[in-house]
């Protein structure tokens, strides 16, 4: 069954939904969209590093995304004007990555595969890595769930309850870097944040609890992955953008639903 490229593509899309659903809820609650952009764009720099130094693509992407996410977290802790700083980092990372890739000798790098994903080319080994990464993210979030929620509601209340807000922020930072590495081949660096934000935002009107919103985001992400894949076959459109289009359609439909909570 895994010999079929379509089955592998569908399973890769589902893996992204599993990880991006609950993490996306936190991205929405904590207004981390720009943070996500900076981390995702750093992945292109990671691609250049991986190709240049002949290391694994997943490893290079993860390292670059993690470095960026930690940098941003440190800057946040110092109370810099985050909007501007993140804008500089997000676009700077993307531009540096694109320039770095152009220096790579002799390789005709298909950049669009990294910018917009190449889900139909996912092999068995890559699929295993993607699922391992997605399950790691899910495990991390489940483990820290209650603490993460408390810190998100109020860092002062969390601190009074004996939690360490810095540690929980670090957990989210690591989870974000992992999702970027996992989703790079599926939707590409430019659209990763879309898979975090759009399903979570679409799930919001249907949910009456944080848990329901996270689960809803996962379900909508899965629906978008399968629907987008189907659409890309039927209409012969690029798979990554088609998945995001499907998610956006669900989001638009969710605007028609009266809020439950």
């Amino acid at each position: 069954m895994l010999d079929d490229f379509l089955v592998r593509a569908a399973l890769a899309g589902l893996a992204v939904a599993v990880a991006a659903g609950p993490l996306g809820a936190f991205v929405v609650w904590r207004r981390m969209a720009y943070f996500g952009e900076a981390t995702a764009h750093a992945a292109i720099l990671g691609v250049a590093l991986a190709l240049g130094f002949q290391i694994s693509l997943f490893g290079g992407t993860l390292a670059a995304a993690l470095a960026m996410a930690l940098t941003v977290t440190t800057l946040t802790g110092r109370g810099l004007a985050m909007d501007t700083a993140l804008g500089v980092l997000a676009h700077g990372a993307l531009a540096f990555g694109l320039v770095a890739v152009s220096f790579l000798p002799a390789v005709r790098v298909d950049l669009s595969a990294y910018l917009f994903g190449d889900i139909l080319a996912v092999g068995r080994g890559e699929l295993a890595v993607i699922w391992a990464g997605a399950l790691a993210v899910l495990g991390l979030l489940l483990w820290r769930w209650s603490a993460l929620l408390t810190v998100t509601v109020s860092e002062d209340l969390a601190k009074a309850s004996g939690l360490e807000p810095g540690r929980e922020r670090l957990a989210l930072t690591v989870a974000l870097a992992l999702v970027v590495a996992v989703a790079l081949q599926v939707v590409g660096a430019l659209l990763i944040v879309a898979m975090l934000i759009i399903p979570a935002a679409a799930a919001r009107p249907l949910a009456r609890s944080p848990e329901a919103m996270a689960l809803g985001a996962t379900a909508i992400g899965a629906l978008a992955a399968l629907g987008g894949l189907w659409g890309s076959l039927v209409f012969d459109t690029p798979a990554g953008p088609s998945i995001v289009v499907a998610a956006t359609v669900v989001f638009a439909a969710s605007l028609l639903v009266p809020r439950r909570g």
Partner: protein, 262 residues
Amino acid sequence: MTLIAAQGLGVSYGAMAALRDVDLVIEPGEIVTVVGPNGSGKSTLVRALLGVVRPSAGQVTRRAGLRIGYVPQRLAVDDRMPLSVRRFLSLPDRRDRDEMRAMLDKVGVPGLEDRQMTALSGGQFQRVLLARALLADPELLILDEATQGLDQPGTAAFYQLIEDVRRETGVAILMVSHDLHVVMSASDRVICLNGHVCCQGQPHVVTAAPEYRALFGLGTHGTMALYQHKHDHAHDACDHDHDHDHTPAHGTATQKDPAHAG
């Protein structure tokens, strides 16, 4: 067995010193009230005691494993996260359903479990915050202007509730307030704060101190000082009990006092 202590505590935001040289000790079962005008560092002191802001000088010592119940002056719960009262009460530790129902009853907002936090009125919200703090079975309850946004009867009922809780559980209370009436009626000890500790001691000592008068005996607070003066006088003259019932505005009450008129 001291619960929490600050020694030579100083906190600076950039070049600006919000607090300096604050010494504070809270023992089990005490009610300590911190009063001070806006910008006097009251909330900074609370945040330093909680460990949210790092001291730039001195230190804060908490007894190991100290359970703190914290009621902030406000909490920005916005619409992006769906959050019911029941879910909020279980953050971060799971609470039993019956336990939650009983606590909401106790703080005077029964049956709100399924309500969304964003749908609560100001008074309901503060009571839910108190319920969450009490569910942790705290040894120290920290109330940072916890009655902000409540009207007069709501404030009175809220403080009555706090006194009931303290009587039942013996919890120590650190109350931050600019409500001087509360200072007089409920506290074992008052700390008058204005960047540093101006004066501290038992309520009647502090309210007679010139530093306190300098901070509060001006402007609209003058009526309060007048009332306080009368209270101290009566207290010194005859050893009557503390069962005052001055609910109307104290300034006018004093002026109409037959003792003064005659």
